[in-house]
């Protein structure tokens, strides 16, 4: 297994270099550069040339590429043109927690609900409810997403006034805040991850129980301790709480909107995967063995149907930034997606490459994670990779 991961890591590294090269040439071919885009047009030509030299914009494409690659590998991603003189790393580091928070929240929500509903949908085939759920699922899945987000804002923010219209915090509240937004985000993500782990552990141990009753009790204990943990965690930080709840309030609508659309996709995928699994012979065997219906659905069918869903889950995490462009733009959420869009539109090329490269890293890590997870979930693969 370790050798397998090692080999994959080497492969990933070269794939990433290729990806980065591709990005570099794509963006290098963009018309104009910082000297024509961001500077006063009346600046004398020699100063312009001097600046270009200092920023490494002179020379051939290849020397620029070599410079970029060597700099990148030493962790120097350059300076942002638009937010000069901040470094790209700094700009990106500021945005990452906001995006991660929004999307891990929405993704977890959509996968848990989508898997639960999808497996039930496949189990009870036919009938009006299946058609109704499937049709609304497909409509949600294919919905013109920016439009859907606008409608959600119109209904819940402008109309009902439940949530703020946009942004990720209320500036007036934060003017004299003792924390930066990212410190609060960090704590929120931390608490969310720990609570999530508690839930996962709870469901893992409850699944190992043969009897229904202890399984239920363990699951309930899991829920309870997750809630308890959240309460204690935030009770210990009274001064941070109002700020956290301000961010939370702003995040509900984008999270729900995003989760609804992602949920539909997960539900349809789970249903398809379940339908294939239910045609397997071992389902008939389980029925012949007299296994109760619910156990057939959950222990035999859903357990196998989980595999493709897991893949899509992890790969979906990698597309956070691509998908984030729409959500973050419509909800004015200053995360990585919005950064990517503005940097490309305003030709802030170092930031654009940096953001895209980050997406690539995420995708590669996700691919690796899928392989590892598959090995854990599917014994057939476990053996092969073990050799």
């Amino acid at each position: 297994m370790l050798r397998f991961i090692g080999r994959r890591l080497v492969q990933m590294f070269f794939l990433f270099l290729l990806f980065l090269t591709l990005l570099f040439f794509l963006l290098d071919a963009q018309p104009g550069d910082i000297t024509s885009q961001f500077l006063d047009p009346t600046i004398p030509a020699e100063i312009r040339a001097q600046l270009a030299e200092r920023l490494g914009l002179d020379g051939s494409v290849w020397s620029r590429w070599w410079n970029y690659m060597t700099n990148f590998l030493t962790g120097n991603l350059g300076l942002s043109f638009q937010q000069y003189p901040r470094t790209v790393t700094d700009v990106i580091a500021e945005r990452i927690p906001r995006t991660l928070f929004l999307f891990t929240f929405a993704t977890l929500l959509s996968y848990v609900l989508g898997f639960a509903l999808g497996k039930r949908l496949a189990w009870r085939r036919g009938g009006f409810s299946e058609h109704a759920v499937t049709i609304s699922g497909v409509l949600l899945y294919t919905v013109f997403y920016p439009w859907f987000a606008i409608i959600m804002i119109l209904i819940f923010s402008s109309g009902l006034g439940w949530f703020p219209i946009n942004g990720f915090l209320t500036p007036e509240l934060w003017r004299n805040a003792p924390f930066t937004g990212n410190e609060v985000f960090g704590q929120m993500i931390l608490s969310l991850v720990i609570a999530g782990l508690i839930l996962v552990a709870g469901s893992y141990f409850s699944r190992r129980q043969q009897e229904r009753r202890p399984a239920q009790i363990i699951r309930l204990v899991g829920y309870g301790s997750a809630i308890l943990f959240m309460t204690i965690f935030w009770a210990l930080k009274p001064e941070m709480r109002p700020f956290a709840s301000n961010i939370l309030h702003h995040s509900i609508l984008p999270v729900v909107t995003l989760a609804l659309v992602a949920f539909a996709g997960v539900m349809l995928l789970t249903r398809g995967s379940m339908l294939e699994t239910l045609k397997e012979d071992y389902i008939l065997t389980a029925q012949a063995k007299g296994v109760p219906e619910r156990d057939i659905r959950d222990k035999h069918a859903a357990r196998n149907a989980l595999l493709p869903v897991t893949t899509s889950f992890v790969l979906g995490l990698a597309f956070i930034i691509g998908g984030g462009i729409i959500t973050e733009t419509v909800f004015s959420w200053p995360g990585m997606g919005a950064l990517l869009l503005t940097s490309i539109v305003s030709e802030d090329i170092p930031v654009a490459i940096g953001a895209l490269a980050f997406t690539g890293v995420l995708a590669l890590v996700a691919h690796l994670l899928v392989d590892i997870l598959y090995a854990v979930l599917d014994p057939r693969i476990r053996i092969q990779t073990g050799n």
Binding site: F148, I326, L340
Partner: protein
């Protein structure tokens, strides 16, 4: 059954007629195959619904030339989707102060009136062109913030959406089927090359890459179609079709064809490709869904060089600030958004139903 009945006659008939009978038999077989698949497809109510949606949009696309040539939209200065202009005029009675306005639909205070009728005083009538105008006055779906007819824009854009979807789907099918079949047939480094290429394409988040592209070139609709087709054709679809082609490659009839002297190209295009095609067509439907949504997203962000599309209709309304105020200007928001969603869903429904025809494991029985 049919061929069996014919057998006795065929023995006495001249050779030419047997040849003719062969293509007839083929045609009949194709027709009966189509009928059988259609029956399976038609069992799926959701698939039929998707087909209905697509037909509805075909009619909508046809409505544009029909209405412009023979119908009531012949006047280009009013009904042109891009440069047309029409604003129904509403008369307001001008009163002295805001407090005196009893009915805001017909009255207006003198100060506000200066915006439209400079120099008007109380007692005058001020005529204000209404844009965006609600449905009525010959505009069945009203006009947009620039005074253009929404219904005309909607039908005009339908044609463009179909064209885009078709180009993207065709390019995907051609690229993915060829790549998948060749990779599966030759294996080895050719296979590795295409599969690593697919991995690389999959690494790229589609929307940002298209945004980058839009900065490089002028992205017109046909170019966008080709781009989506290439990205999808070399990416995920190629992987799926390759695994299908692999399962075809090991079938005995491939060996039979090889033994009887078929060249590699003959084997790939006469034997493997036709067996991969059903699955390709399935993925064609999903590509259309993707292309329609992507186009809308990109025009919504104003990144495409198109003169009119559903996404652009929403962008116009959005940038002019008509979408944040609630559902008051619903005709700017609803038709375009519903059109994108429904057309994408229509192709998706059909794709799903085809999936059940191609993949028997998904069927209910």
């Amino acid at each position: 059954m049919v061929t069996q009945e014919k057998r006795p006659e065929a023995e006495v008939e001249p050779v030419e007629q047997i040849v003719e009978a062969l293509w007839r038999v083929r045609l009949r077989l194709a027709w009966s195959g189509f009928k059988r698949n259609w029956k399976l497809f038609a069992e799926n109510k959701i698939g039929l619904m998707g087909l209905g949606i697509i037909i509805f949009f075909v009619l909508l696309a046809l409505a544009y030339p029909v209405m412009r040539t023979w119908g009531p939209w012949q006047d280009g200065t009013i009904y042109d989707p891009v440069i047309g202009y029409d604003a129904p005029v509403e008369d307001f009675e001008i009163v002295e102060t805001e407090a005196e306005v009893l009915d805001p639909d017909t009255q207006m205070d003198a100060f506000t009136a200066q915006l439209w009728c400079f120099g008007a005083v109380a007692g005058d009538t001020c005529s204000i062109p209404l844009q965006p105008a609600p449905p009525g006055n010959g505009h069945i779906l009203g006009t947009d913030p620039l005074g253009r007819d929404i219904a005309s824009q909607l039908t005009f854009s339908t044609r463009a959406a179909f064209m885009l979807g078709l180009i993207a789907a065709l390019v995907t099918v051609v690229v993915a089927t060829t790549v998948g079949s060749i990779a599966a047939f030759y294996g080895g480094w050719i296979d590795s090359f295409f599969m690593r290429l697919a991995d690389l394409v999959l690494l790229m988040p589609l929307i940002p890459i298209l945004i980058v592209m839009s900065g490089l070139w002028e992205v017109t609709l046909p170019r966008l179609g080709v781009l989506i087709g290439i990205l999808s054709g070399f990416g995920g679809t190629a992987i799926v079709l390759k695994s299908q082609a692999l399962s075809v490659k090991v079938k005995p009839f491939i060996d039979a064809a090889r033994v009887s002297g078929g060249s590699n190209m003959h084997l790939i295009f006469k034997h493997i490709v036709p067996n991969v095609l059903p699955l390709s067509f399935l993925y064609m439907m999903f590509t259309v869904t993707e292309a329609v949504s992507l186009e809308a997203v990109l025009s919504f962000f104003g990144l495409l060089n198109v003169n009119m599309s559903w996404g652009l209709m929403l962008q116009t309304a959005q940038t002019q600030g008509y979408l944040r105020t609630g559902l008051e200007f619903w005709w700017l928001l609803i038709p375009a958004g519903v059109a994108v969603t429904l057309l994408a869903a229509g192709f998706f429904f059909v794709g799903r139903a085809m999936d059940e025809v191609v993949n028997p494991r998904l069927r209910s029985r």
